[in-house]
């Protein structure tokens, strides 16, 4: 019974989202082309899968560090830089698998560098990660001629990890890596202690240096999964002026929503469900020609704000609900 309740609560959000978008798009004439209702087409599934897989990977990479009490600004820059390495080497060798491997290795190396700077610099995480973000962004202009990589996603032989069904490989790997770190490693469990009370954690004998490096190795692996998907779907341009943080922030909504939805199950499922739901919302807005520009920003902003408000006031809402039902009785 408890499991059924968890499943119900977990699926409630995407089902509500799908139903809401179905009703809204069905009543909008823009969603009919030659009498065809375009919201309920196979494109919906394709879009949701492709978009959600990318979102899940980025959101897990952000969430892994967030769960350890660190907001890592450099996630987007690490993703872009490792994508440039992976794309160019993958293109040179003509192998998407080598590209994927390079993405994983380079992302781990980059993440470990971030960890070393943070630990040895003894700087607040926000300062140290903004610093390395600027460094990684400047490197995007130096490596491989500073032109980024555009040929990778254009080549169907190379971009298998950006399409169905290849996209499931990095997405599932990212979820497995997160779950393994979170549930099965000592570092993952100790991370929670450090996140809640860093001094207490260190005082009871947790080696923070070792713990931080370990967490960055795992988040590096997830960033590698993100890189290969991003690279297989987009042209990767060199970046500057903290522009990579906008890449990262565009996925952050799913992290916070996922944390709340995950209360009924676990973080990975929560983030997955949040990513799917937001992709459905996005697709519905696209159908109504509101997928970009000011209106999309307003709708998304209002929706996210309402969701956060609801989730933070859930206790009060429950109390009010009980009060009303008591009075009626």
């Amino acid at each position: 019974m408890k499991i059924l309740k968890k499943v119900f609560l977990s699926l409630l959000f995407p089902v509500l989202m799908f139903t809401a978008m179905l009703i809204i798009t069905a009543s909008n004439p823009k969603c009919y082309v030659n009498g065809d209702f375009i919201f309920l087409k196979f494109d919906l599934i394709r879009y949701v899968v492709l978009d959600a897989c990318q979102t899940i990977c980025v959101a897990l990479a952000i969430h892994l560090q967030l769960k350890n009490g660190r907001f890592d600004f450099s996630t987007g820059a690490a993703m872009i830089l490792s994508a440039i390495f992976a794309g160019n080497i993958g293109n040179m060798t003509g192998s998407p698998y080598i590209g994927f491997l390079v993405a994983l290795v380079s992302a781990v190396v980059i993440s470990c560098f971030t960890a070393v700077v943070y630990m040895n610099g003894r700087l607040p995480i926000i300062i140290s990660t903004i610093g390395v973000t600027l460094l990684y962004e400047s490197l995007t202009y130096l490596v491989f001629g500073g032109t980024g990589i555009s040929v990778f996603y254009q080549d169907t032989r190379l971009s298998v990890f950006g399409r169905m069904p290849g996209i499931f490989v990095p997405a599932i790997l990212a979820m497995l890596v997160f779950t393994f770190y979170d549930k099965m490693t000592v570092a993952g469990r100790r991370g929670k202690v450090l996140a809640n009370n860093q001094s207490a954690g260190v005082n009871i004998g947790i080696n923070e240096y070792h713990n931080t490096i370990t967490s960055y190795v795992f988040s590096g692996l997830i960033i590698g999964c993100t890189s290969i998907i991003y690279l297989s779907q987009n042209r990767v341009n060199p970046q500057s002026g903290l522009s990579t943080s906008s890449v990262m922030f565009s996925y952050i909504v799913s992290v916070f929503m996922g944390r709340f939805i995950g209360l009924a199950s676990n973080d990975v499922i929560g983030i997955g469900i949040a990513a799917v739901s937001m992709s459905i919302l996005d697709y519905g807005l696209n159908c109504m020609n509101l997928g970009a520009g000011g209106w999309q920003q307003i709708i998304m902003g209002v929706f996210v704000m309402a969701f956060y408000t609801m989730s933070s006031q859930i206790g009060n809402i429950q109390k009010l609900f009980r009060k009303v039902t008591k009075k009626e009785a």
Binding site: Y47, S150, Y153, Q154, T156, N234, R235, Y283, G291
Partner: protein, 391 residues
């Protein structure tokens, strides 16, 4: 007395020769000059090949180039970039954006620095601020890619390429198309190109056995705000065989790949992005069937005008007011065209493959060739076609 007369005659003759040489201005060693170039992007085939081409001219023309990147949306940022170039002691500036021109020219005037345009039709200034920009003595003119004023014809280029494609593929012709453009406030002519295409298509359909259907141009789905077409584009334009992408193809291709239509729908596009050639014509997925590209050598037009001013010489037929001139495009719509294009400086960054050598450019200047004319400089812009790459 006889000798004095002879010496006097020789001195007179020498003075005459020297005076004539000074008046003519031809075959003089150019002054050392520094030119700032504000491109629209800092990387990519077009900026890279432009830089490679200019680098090949430095020695012969005694000129040094410094670069900056302008923005499409921030007027203040562009003015700052121009100020920076002036502060870097540039003698002339070439810019690719028509934003804040009045303020930019004021800066140039105060500093005694000349300015000219490249890859930009300066349409806003031309239509709304002509006197203060085109009549300003510090603005020398511009060369535009894809035509300007009455020379607009890209819509016809798209149509002709579609006809060529259908003639080459009678078994699988394109019979249903849709369009994409950038917004009119940024690229006012692109929707005019769509109308040109439609006009040709309507005319063709009157007598055609198999008419070509076009989806009506819809501003809400077909105008791209400098971001890729959205995921529902191919649902909204169901059953199309090709997209007439009047803007850059990269804004459509990514979505085609995600939607899984890159093997079935063809893309006719303006603007080349690195890697497009892998899926062009019969190669790869065969998605791209047209690319319209402006030769980087067209920067010769503003460069020569600037160098003439810097060297204090002028063409005899130099117009009184600055002009905007069109450069012919490389119309790449077959495998053979792409092979030629791949050997050009645009893709190789090798100045040996440029349409003009440093000597050619030197001879186009008024200080390098006394017979050089403005008409001659304009004429070279008509010889930057794909056929010219074969020569």
């Amino acid at each position: 007395m006889k000798n004095v007369k002879r010496i006097f005659a020789i001195v007179l003759a020498l003075s005459l020769v020297l005076a004539l040489a000074a008046c003519g201005g031809g075959n003089k060693a150019p002054k050392k000059a520094k030119i700032g170039v504000g491109l629209y992007s800092d990387a990519g085939p077009a900026p890279d090949s432009t830089k490679a081409y200019l680098a090949s001219l430095t020695e012969k023309l005694n000129v040094e180039f410094v670069y900056t990147t302008l923005t499409q949306t921030d007027e203040a940022a562009n003015i700052t970039k121009v100020q920076e170039l002036i502060a870097a002691n540039c003698d002339g500036i070439i810019i690719t954006m028509d934003m804040g021109m009045e303020a930019i020219l004021k800066e140039c005037e105060d500093a005694g620095v000349y300015c000219a345009g490249y890859l930009c039709d300066f349409d806003t200034s031309y239509n709304t601020n002509y006197d203060k920009v085109f009549k300003n003595p510090y603005f020398l003119g511009t060369v535009a890619d894809g035509g300007c004023g009455n020379e607009l014809k890209r819509g016809y280029d798209f149509w002709d390429s579609l006809m060529e494609y259908n003639a080459a593929h009678p078994e699988d012709p394109v019979t249903h198309v849709s369009f994409t453009t950038f917004p009119a406030w940024a690229f006012p002519y692109q929707q005019q190109y769509v109308q040109q295409f439609i006009e040709k298509c309507d005319e063709y359909n009157k007598t055609a056995e198999t008419p070509i259907v076009y989806d009506p141009f819809d501003e809400s789905t077909d105008v791209l705000m400098f971001s890729p077409v959205d995921s529902t584009y191919f649902s909204k334009h169901a059953d199309i065989d090709a997209v007439m992408c009047i803007c850059a193809g990269e804004f459509v291709y990514g979505t085609m790949v995600s939607a899984g239509v890159d093997k079935t729908v063809k893309l006719f596009a303006a603007g080349y992005t690195e890697g497009d050639n892998a899926n062009f014509g019969s190669r790869g997925n065969g998605t791209y069937q047209l690319e319209l590209v402006c030769a980087p050598e067209s920067i010769t037009y503003p460069l020569v005008l600037l160098l003439n001013k810097i060297n204090g010489v002028e063409f005899k037929d130099m117009p009184a007011e600055a002009e905007r001139r069109s450069c012919t495009s490389f119309i790449i719509n077959s495998d053979e065209d792409m092979e030629l294009f791949e050997k050009s400086i645009y893709l190789t960054n090798d100045p040996a493959n440029a349409l003009l050598t440093p000597d050619d450019v030197y001879n186009l200047t008024a200080f390098g060739n006394e017979d050089a004319t403005y008409a001659g400089l304009v004429e070279i812009l008509n010889h930057m076609n794909i056929e010219d790459l074969a020569k």
